[in-house]
Symmetry: D2
Subunit: 377 residues, 4 copies
């Protein structure tokens, strides 16, 4: 790599970094994305690809608003990416059933439906009979379900690769196996980035390094905590489709994919740094899947894998400029929502990098002031 | 499997069998497809997916006519299959350059262009300079090229799976790992098919078993020769696209696919039954690829594979009813053109099975009369 | 392949065929082994490799005698194969614990121990406490165990490949991807074998084709029934060894292998011809493994696979010359005991081929007289 | 991981780190090995496993002495590791032919033979005819060869895993996916190591992190330069062995392995940090292999891979205590000789850690005094 200058350097080739690269390339600024390994090699290829805006995000109103806006961007993004990269991201919008297996869950879901409706979202209660009519392979033990017709899904690794390839088609540069050492900062302002091959001058750096964000910024004395939450999954193959819609319940979801694949996820293991899939993890997911969809036990085993979701101490992603370092932007910590939030995160970060005020309120996602200095030798 | 009755049983889960199953399922007849291994496990997943109607088929006028009609069916087929199966078959129509590296090849191609034009097909001669403008990474040693703007490509295994999944969505049944022993024939008429699990009664059998066709029919004393022509291939990955169009020359082609993949093929080894990729085979393809596209040497190695193209003694596929066995239809021996000819073969065979006269003249593809009886013990 | 003549042609490149090839090559007769796919591609690579002579074979006294003799041959075979092929077959003789989880099983095992002792075999009863001292990770719910110190194991695919490579080192020829059509028989005597490439003259044919034996002989009008019994397995990886000995109970075994791998097997599904691993199959094996060895749930998932064990209607392998066809020898139907019985089967069949009376009584394994003629068209 | 105290913590789970762990565990000191990914995931599994003491190490007399001593340790190490871990390291000592293809090479090799003989090593010149008698598949264009009967080889990943498993069997602990942040140093003395999970107190740290050594020590202001030299390889499979001995020439070697595999290596690309195998790299190795062994072109393609050899600016490994940090030992930068030097490096480093003077002179491998301080923000 020569000492070419870039307007913006992005660190991290997951779905967030690639979406930002795509938006910046559309705006015709010069952009370089540096990825430690390969594009989509971590969480972005492990994700099941649900666009579950309504199924999960009940805690933060602001995040929910971003999520449903981001979900609405997918049809356009899908067409753009197909045109530019030739990659079909597998966007399917056949809805989601959030299943109640206990009376208590049924109560909780009914309240959630009212709440969703008051926000103008589609959501309706299905009796057990209605749920079974919609998805005949569901267990007869199902008590009912919240039906969300608008929810959908994509193929996470295809989305990430499509963002990356489309960014390149529009002029962005991507370097895999890039070894970033630290930012180059002068007068509390980013002026470049140091890799093993030398310094790359630039005006802005966007860090979208997922669980690697914290250690990436440590040599610069910046403390931006992001910790891993391991999730284990497996998938099966069926010759005839068993499901049309995504099935979701506490602790287990089943997502029907192309080629008769059903992805079953996911365990939640905080601070687990390894990528090992445990027998206990998938055994527990098998028992839960059987309770929801008994006939899945006749399906063919496909494979098991794991991913590290990037989580923050306050359970919200970071989206913004670092308060102590001008020109350093951070988009990390999307936890389970990276795929869903990737289109809007790309737009927000491109706005910020260009010095524009984003169209959406992102004050809740500001990088915290507290910065611990690095304590080496 | 119970002794259910089917209107039609298809033997062979490659692209031809699956296309026929799809067409029959669309016509609402009951159809069962039996596959010895898994869908698309042989030639149909090894193919590079070129729809090279004009690049190759100069020998047989009839075959050329079928091929160009079949090629014209792809846009509609692509949309149908995406709707029914969710699978994008990767149809790309960016054209093909048939390269001349010698003056003699240039002459031959110029004549071929005239011939194509007289048939109403688009084809034009590009000087070396024009070819390099179109594909700047081509070798400066290129003397010129025949440009065929209409040629395109698909992803062969996706096409086959999409036919299969769409057939199932329309009511067809598919059984993998099915062990067919022989046809059940009474009074020179097919009445069923015998598998390891028993006899399945049916009114028609369509054999679309590629290189397995000959041995499949042998226990019934029917001699339908199809021999394997092994082809070896490899592919590379590039981070930036090196090519937009397919590059074709005698003995070597380069097909740019999704995700920056370029497929390089293919050797031609008659009667080789093994599936082994030889070092010599891919080494020779590497040297040929370098002569066409020198910068491919910096691309990343991806993988190597091989496939068995099914060829017939008279170099034309069999499409028709067997002259000595009523109700037995054969669609086999498509050699290098299985992917391209699959849509039209599906329609022709469905017409035949339904007792209709196909819309296209297929007399050239009739099954030969000569039938040797089986000489076992 | 030229029309070279061989003394003996073996059909089948599993552990049985390769062991016979090895023994014949040692005796310096010219031998050709034909394998439909690749060496060790079916049951012989799916097997867990237990040499469980005493754990299982209680039904047939004759088979038990063969099994314990065969087991005693392994140390010498292991050294020979390592010398000739460089392959270590992973012979470990650390013993086996057959676990009782119920009082009834405990009774049954105690009787079995007496029976074993009366046959001069080592076997002893361990109380729960003794069993836990020997294998501390066992479940505290274990009631006791039969301990067989002499039982051992090998790596099944390494054994098969070592037989094959050693046979080649001694002059045997092996052809993979060979397509056998039928035997060539004159006056009820084998004179050759017909493949796609022509007739190979030979004086004897040994069929060791496992579940493929039946259909292989069908074109010659010979009916030698062998049916598949599918077994599903999985394995895990541990960083510290959890087990030293093989753990065995009804329906589930755990075999500790090199590199911290533990193989867990195996389901029993008669007449299942597919090679699909079902979710239900491995889920059930997970629950059984947890009952025996709770800490296995923390182990790392490795992979799942299946194999087809070849079984006969009378539950005993065929070892002998076919009563209706001189020069045709059959060694097939070893069910779960192919690995264990491979050394002795090699010697027995080599003796038979050479016209010698085997050292062991094999009358129980004779090929049945009943021969149905083939009923094709 | 709890805050347990260890005598020694080793950083790096390649062949060097695992050999040191094994030697320390044998001496019954408490040892913990931390590996960033998995054991043997980098250079130690990419290596071809040649023990080429005499073939290469002509530059440094000291290194040559270490190398031939280390080579002599392999038979004992092999037996120890097999006993403790059950893993056969594949030690084969069938010798090596260093081929001359030009008259100049022949001259150079003849001189090298004299030099070897004067050092008491076996080495002899073979004429082309003698070389072809020894290895009949060699090209007739070979002019002659240096024959080294003592040279041998192992399976590199098996050796590394066997060291690791044997260390664990003797009480060592190994943690994969461990994220080391920096050393904990007080008064220029190591007192512990900081990982993502907290501080692990210890008395010594041994850094054996290969190409990761430099960046690992950077946060502590220590500059120990090690740079990567990428090597690309591929392997083929043969049904009959083509070679018995290793074939070596400038720029290309062929190593016959178990199961008929031949490893062909390796390119030399300095400072290449990616792990990509280029088409150009393997194409060039194919042409070189064909010049040595023409019949390899009929062999079956197996796979291609790459590895990063760790090299130092002065072309010698570091073996010793860091001059500016008591208790910090470094064993890194073994370049192409890590497998060969692993047994002796384990012993030397264990001696140093125990405060003993190593049996061999290692002054040439001291860590340089020059220490640049870290220049972050």
């Amino acid at each position: 790599m020569k000492t070419k200058t870039y307007e913006t350097v992005i660190v991290g080739g997951g779905v967030i970094g690639c979406s930002i690269a795509f938006q910046l390339a559309k705006r015709e600024t010069s952009v370089l994305l540096l990825e430690k390994e390969r594009i989509a090699s971590q969480a972005s290829s492990a994700a099941a690809g649900m666009l579950g805006a309504q199924a999960e995000l009940m805690e933060s109103r602001t995040l929910f608003e971003l999520a449903r806006t981001s979900r609405s961007l997918f049809p356009v993004v899908s067409a753009e990416l197909k045109e530019l990269s030739g990659i079909d991201i597998g966007l399917v919008r056949k809805g989601l059933l959030r299943i109640a297996l206990t009376a208590e869950e049924a109560d909780r879901l009914r309240k959630h439906i009212s709440c969703q409706q008051s926000l103008g979202e589609q959501a309706e209660w299905l009796t057990a009979r209605q749920a079974l009519e919609m998805e005949p392979e569901l267990s007869p033990n199902v008590l009912g379900a919240m039906y969300i017709p608008d929810d959908g899904q994509v193929v996470a690794s295809d989305l990430t690769n499509a963002f990356a390839r489309s960014a390149v088609a529009l002029g962005a540069e991507i370097q895999e196996f890039a070894d970033v050492e630290h930012l180059v900062v002068e007068k509390e302002t980013v002026v470049g980035i140091k890799t093993k091959d030398g310094i790359i001058p630039c005006n802005q750096v966007v860090v979208a390094a997922g669980v690697g964000t914290e250690s990436l910024l440590k040599p610069n004395g910046l403390h931006v905590p992001v910790y891993p939450v391991k999730g284990e999954c497996y998938s099966v193959k069926t010759s005839k489709p068993l499901l049309e819609k995504t099935i979701y319940t506490d602790g287990c979801y089943l997502v029907p994919k192309r080629y008769g694949e059903i992805v079953v996820g996911a365990t939640v293991k905080k601070h687990a740094c390894d990528r090992k899939v445990t027998l206990g993890g998938i055994s527990s997911l098998m028992q839960q899947a059987e309770r929801l969809l008994p006939s899945i036990m006749q399906a063919e085993w496909n494979r098991a894998w794991s991913g590290m979701r990037p989580q923050t101490p306050h359970d919200l992603p970071y989206l913004g400029e670092h308060p102590r370092c001008k020109g350093l932007f951070i988009a990390a910590g999307h936890y389970r929502n990276g795929i869903l939030l990737s289109p809007i995160t790309g737009i927000i970060m491109a706005d910020l990098v260009e010095g524009k005020t984003p169209r959406w309120d992102i004050s809740a996602f500001a990088i915290p002031e507290t910065v611990h200095s690095y304590t080496g030798v």
